[in-house]
Amino acid sequence: MTTGSQNEYKKLTTKFSVIRSLTQIWTLFKKDLLLEIRQQYSFYGILLYIGATIFVLFLGIDEPEEKVWNGLFWVIQLFICINAVAKSFLQESRGRMLYFYSIASPGNFVLAKLLFNTLLMVVMSLLSLLLFSLFLGYPVVRTGPFVGLVLLGGWSLSLIFTFLAAIAARAQQNAAIMAVLGFPLIVPQLILLMKISNATFNPLLSLHASNILLLGALDVLVILLAVILFPFLWKD
């Protein structure tokens, strides 16, 4: 073989492996989606959780001021995320994990989970925003940036808690340990989110692109860490 054709061959194999891992991620993602559609109780369970929590808040306080609204909104997001994401690894039985181990690579597996939980959390964030604006008033002045921020925040939360769910599942613990492990880790992101979203309540404050970029960078960091560290979690 000449060096040229060798290079060509190498290029082709890397292309194939990228396509193969993409299809693997997509298949695993579809599997999670299908499971969610078949067993709708968990989806409706989270919906009920969102509705009940916000209704209780509505009974307790009516029309809170901006800062309180902001704080409550993000704390509720945090709790929704724990409930929505916790089962992602806990639902997989030992035998099924062994099966996935034999057919998929750990990186692809965790990426599929991250993707699915991102979708789940984005939907839940939008729903809770809707309910919040219905029940507790809508102090947001700049809707566009705030909705974007809610999506970004939901994504950030889901990424961290997906990885912690993997840890909790491996430790054979319930969702309580997820909260213990996750709350300190999520604090920097929550502070950033609350700080940025404060600016959307007041037309005089400006949004800083650097803060939003920082959040994005943190998300990328979490994805990278998850892909690097997950293989060590699922080996037995």
Binding site: R170, I177, F183, P184, P188, L229, F232, L233
Partner: protein
């Protein structure tokens, strides 16, 4: 004797810190006055804490590369000693704060909540909470190898997330704490040259003391390990 030179060095440096730190001339700054001497204790303990946590993470990575249980014990013990130094850093910081920040004439500082909102306090509280969670996670797993692997993974993940909460986020928020621009205490202009002669030896002294305590704890851990086998 030749292997314990660093223990002797640690004692000498700490004795130097306590005597020279309390006796040497320091610059007189408004509001700080003589409390500036706390720099040799408060800041140095945080330094030592970060160094010990870093050593803990490095040993966690080493464990994942070799699966030698020894590194797991080392990693755990460095984390606990780091926590102790962090608590000491808090205590010295609280004393310092009560003389400089807590102004009885300023209504903003009447409650603990107002002081606790300080971003640097939040960042370090996060650091300590992370390592408390690390210890809780460890104790929740019975199987030894599994415990070592999972806690090493959490250690690395948590350390990576700790960085933004200590070094980046506090700078975005308003703060009374010095070192808002740049790296606190790492900047040569921050610390007066007359204080640097005590400051750097003090950092080394506190770190060596932490390492000394940890090595003893590691020896105990390894002995316990042997007994159970």
């Amino acid at each position: 004797m030749y292997r314990s030179w660093w223990k002797i060095l640690s004692v000498v440096l700490l004795v130097y810190t306590f005597t020279a730190g309390l006796l040497l001339k320091v610059p007189h700054l408004p509001a700080l006055e003589e409390t500036i001497r706390n720099l040799y204790f408060h800041v140095c303990m945080w330094f030592a804490m970060m160094i010990l946590f870093t050593v803990s993470v490095i040993n966690g990575i080493k464990y994942l590369r070799t699966f030698n249980i020894r590194y797991d014990i080392i990693s755990r013990q460095y984390a606990t000693t780091g926590i102790v130094l962090g608590l000491l850093g808090y205590a010295t910081g609280a004393i310092w704060m009560s003389y400089t920040w807590a102004d009885p004439n300023n209504p903003a500082f009447q409650s603990f909540g107002a002081l606790a909102r300080e971003p640097k306090l939040i960042g370090t509280a996060v650091a300590l909470l992370i390592y408390f969670a690390y210890l809780v996670l460890r104790d929740s797993i019975a199987d030894m190898d599994k415990r070592a692997r999972i806690s090493a993974v959490y250690n690395i993940f948590a350390y990576a997330m700790l960085f933004p909460s200590i070094w980046i986020v506090p700078r975005l928020l308003p703060s009374l704490h010095p070192g808002q621009e740049g790296n606190p205490a790492m900047n040569f202009k921050d610390v007066d040259s007359s204080m640097r002669v005590v400051f750097y030896p003090a950092v080394i002294g506190w770190t060596l003391l932490g390492v000394w305590i940890t090595t003893i704890k590691i020896r105990i851990g390894l002995l316990k390990e042997k007994k159970w086998q």
